[in-house]
């Protein structure tokens, strides 16, 4: 959420703005509750054995007790959801300026490159 250019100066406008902020507060509390809930959920889910039918995707050995490879996907999905709540609501990314999005898109892309290619390089050694 950004300041209007002259917010500091104009009290009347500020009044209006502050009112908008007030409305956000309940949303913040709700998101906080959701995050706590999902934390408990992810702990609970880790007790469930989702099995390994994801093995076709990870046709590699991921060190994991048993074959609960799907659990990895589930846990990461929950974490990603929580993270996006934090980013979108707390960090106001839901309504941010284009410029910030651009920076973040590139960053996201390069992080993916870092992950994907590191994986790829691991994945394709010369073998005989």
């Amino acid at each position: 959420m950004n300041n209007p250019p002259d917010i500091a100066q104009d009290p009347a406008e500020h009044e209006e703005y502050a009112h908008g902020v007030q409305q956000h507060v309940s949303r913040y509390l709700m998101v906080g509750g959701l995050l706590l809930f999902f934390t408990l959920l992810t702990v609970a889910l880790s007790y469930v054995d989702f099995g390994g039918f994801f093995s076709w995707l990870f046709h590699i050995h991921i060190s994991q007790e048993g074959s609960r490879k799907l659990n990895i996907a589930v846990a990461i999905a929950v974490a990603a959801f929580k993270a996006s709540l934090v980013a979108l609501i707390f960090m106001h990314l839901a309504a941010e300026k284009r410029l910030i999005y651009r920076v973040l898109i590139f960053t996201g892309l390069f992080v993916l490159v870092l992950f994907w290619l590191t994986y790829l390089a691991w994945y394709d050694p010369i073998t005989r």
């Binding site: 590139f106 490159v113 790829l120 390089a121 010369i126």
Partner: protein, 636 residues
């Protein structure tokens, strides 16, 4: 309309541009003169110009140190095992008894020198000068800003650099000497080096290298954040993205490279530091036998992980070394051919593409690490793709000259040398990009020659050009043309005598990081062009030392001209960009009148004008507008 340049060089001048246009004149803008003491003004300053100059001087000193280390090394390469005359006796007093007993270099010391030459040149020399110094001094002026967006962060960035540099230098003097693993610090060598009896756990070469690096990375990050924000937020009115000088664009992309590529290396450095101090094994596999005894570590680490993270920075880093030089070259080229840069848009586009692609080519430094065909095909393709924008940039520079009215002052001489020198360096990157060809060339002197052609007669010449070019802005005085030429010609010749033969040595199969210069190797005994591979070391070394002498005119010229150079007006090169509308040297806050840009950056030799340059802050008059339809509409 000529007011911007023709007024006399008196200290009170600076009404620059004020006669133009309807924009308001902010009188008394910066007139609360509270005098700052010497320390606040010159040492702990937050003024971008002072910080730029601090960076510049420190960086140049580091460049010189890096070069001095190399001059010592070149003795060993040309005359292996012989005592270094004159200074050899004294070096042990500086570098410790084990560096050069009796003036004869030890292999450890050779490796230290090599690693520190690379590190100092790149991270303490070129990055500070090309990115931080020129970026700090020139960018805010070129975009018409009063300072950086975060002046205190800017100062913090410089001091982090200073601390990092100090730590790197200190590492020469701890027991065991400075880091020995090459500037690439490949693990496991660097994990296990400088350890054991006789070494301090933290105060040893390799660990200090890592710690120093953390400071340098911090410095670069702070700088990068500052530059990007400044360029986005503080552009003068009317200075749209497509009116930015090319130099600003190149700094902008460079800043992004530093911002996003350095942190993975920082992660790797933290991990290596953990390996060295907390006995982790991020980079150590199980079952290693070092010096005949098994290494007791948990294992489970991967030596290649380091290489991936290192080169994830390493490749963008090499573009960090060249992009600012591209920017400087672009400015000076346009100015001295009195012509706009040809294909400005494609230049900007190319720089952006380089920036983007440089993140996906890193594994071309790792062709021989057991890479399968899929991954190598991917990286070969991206590596070749990234050479295309370089070709475009160089072509655009060459074509820019066509139809110009070329004048050869000292900055332009360095720029004319830059172009073919970078060309040679860049072209010789192409065989390296094919991994089957690199199979033969990897880690030979061919690689050394490839990148030195880019960074030494390339980037370093670009930096020299920039120093000569912007010196009058920083001081109000010119550096001597004559001594500039005395600096230029020997430097150009020596550079080529140094690095051309290295291609031959590389093709012969001589490898880099050879302490004996190839003396013990039969393949280095093969003759080529009249000398054996090993014997070629001698002319190379002599050229390097003469090159060292050739820098003396520069250093003297530089310091002498600060006080005694010829006084000049604000725009001695008759250039068009906004920095030349500020007084020389610019006061705190830079501009007397907040500048407004009305046109593109390189309006040289506009048809129908008497003057062959039109500054960015000269308003467009109606007759001109009808003449030049292509000009984009004025922004706000």
């Amino acid at each position: 309309m000529d007011a911007s340049t023709s007024h006399p060089p008196s200290p009170g001048f600076g009404e620059t541009g004020e006669t133009h246009g309807p924009h308001h004149h902010e009188a008394g803008h910066d007139h609360e003169h509270h005098e700052l003491g010497f320390w606040r003004k010159y040492i702990f300053s937050t003024d971008h110009k002072v910080i730029g100059i601090q960076y510049g001087i420190c960086g140049m000193i580091f460049l010189f140190m890096g070069f001095s280390l190399m001059m010592i090394m070149r003795w060993q390469l040309a005359y292996p095992g012989q005592a270094l005359p004159l200074i050899g006796k004294w070096l042990p007093y500086i570098f410790g008894a084990n560096s050069m007993p009796d003036g004869k270099m030890t292999p450890e010391f050779y490796n230290s020198l090599g690693a520190m030459h690379g590190t100092i040149m790149i991270f303490l020399g070129v990055v500070p000068v090309a990115f931080a110094a020129f970026g700090n001094f020139v960018v805010p002026l070129q975009i018409g800003a009063p300072d950086m967006t975060f002046p205190k962060v800017n100062a913090a960035s410089f001091w982090a650099f200073a601390v990092g540099g100090a730590i790197m230098l200190t590492s020469f003097f701890v027991p065991g000497g400075a880091a020995k693993g090459g500037w690439t610090s490949y693990t496991p060598l660097s994990d296990i080096a400088d350890k054991g009896p006789g070494f301090h756990t933290v105060l040893n070469g390799q660990s200090l290298w890592l710690i120093g690096f953390i400071f340098l990375i911090t410095s670069s990050l702070l700088g990068a954040v500052n530059f990007i924000t400044t360029i986005i937020q503080l552009r003068a009115k009317g200075l749209t993205w497509m009116r930015l000088p090319f130099f600003v664009w190149s700094q902008f992309v460079t800043a992004f490279l530093l911002l996003l590529a350095f942190p993975p290396l920082e992660a790797a450095i933290i991990m290596q530091l953990m390996d060295r101090t907390a006995a982790t094994s991020f980079f150590l596999p199980a079952g290693m036998i070092v010096n005949g005894a098994p290494l007791h570590v948990s294992g489970g680490g991967s030596p290649l992980l380091w290489q991936h993270l290192f080169w994830f920075l390493g490749h963008p880093e090499v573009y960090v070394l060249i992009l600012p030089a591209f920017g400087i070259v672009g400015e000076i080229l346009a100015n001295n051919s009195r012509k706009p840069l040809w294909g400005y848009k494609s230049l900007v586009f190319s720089v952006l593409v380089i920036g983007f692609l440089s993140f996906v080519v890193w594994a071309h430094h790792m062709w021989l690490t057991g890479m399968g065909s899929t991954v190598s095909a991917f990286f070969q393709t991206t590596t070749l793709l990234i050479s295309i924008p370089s070709v475009i940039i160089l072509s655009a520079f060459f074509i820019s000259l066509w139809g110009g009215s070329i004048r050869f002052n000292v900055p332009m001489l360095f720029v004319t040398a830059f172009l073919p020198m970078f060309g040679i360096g860049g072209l010789t990157g192409i065989p390296l990009a094919f991994n089957s060809a690199d199979l033969y060339l990897h880690d030979t002197y061919y690689v050394i020659a490839h990148f030195h052609y880019i960074v030494a007669p390339g980037t370093i010449f670009g930096l020299f050009a920039g120093v000569y070019y912007w010196f009058p802005k920083a001081t109000g005085r010119m550096m001597s043309e004559f001594w500039g030429k005395v600096h230029f010609w020997p430097s150009l010749i020596c550079m080529n005598v140094i690095f051309l033969p290295m291609f031959l040595q590389g093709m012969l199969g001589m490898h880099r990081r050879w302490y004996d210069g190839g003396q013990g190797w039969t393949l280095a005994g093969e003759h080529i062009w009249g000398l054996s591979g090993f014997q070629w070391n001698t002319p190379i070394s002599w050229a390097a030392w003469i090159m060292g002498l050739a820098q003396i005119p520069f250093i003297i010229n530089f310091f002498w001209s600060i006080k005694h150079g010829k006084k000049v007006n604000d725009n001695p090169w008759e250039a068009t960009t906004l920095e030349w509308t500020a007084p020389s040297p610019p006061p705190h806050g830079n501009f007397v009148t907040t500048p407004v840009a009305y046109r593109g950056p390189y309006e040289y030799s506009l048809p129908g004008r008497e003057k062959d340059f039109t500054m960015q802050n000269e308003p467009v008059d109606p007759s001109e507008r009808s003449r030049r339809m292509a000009e984009p509409a004025l922004a706000h």
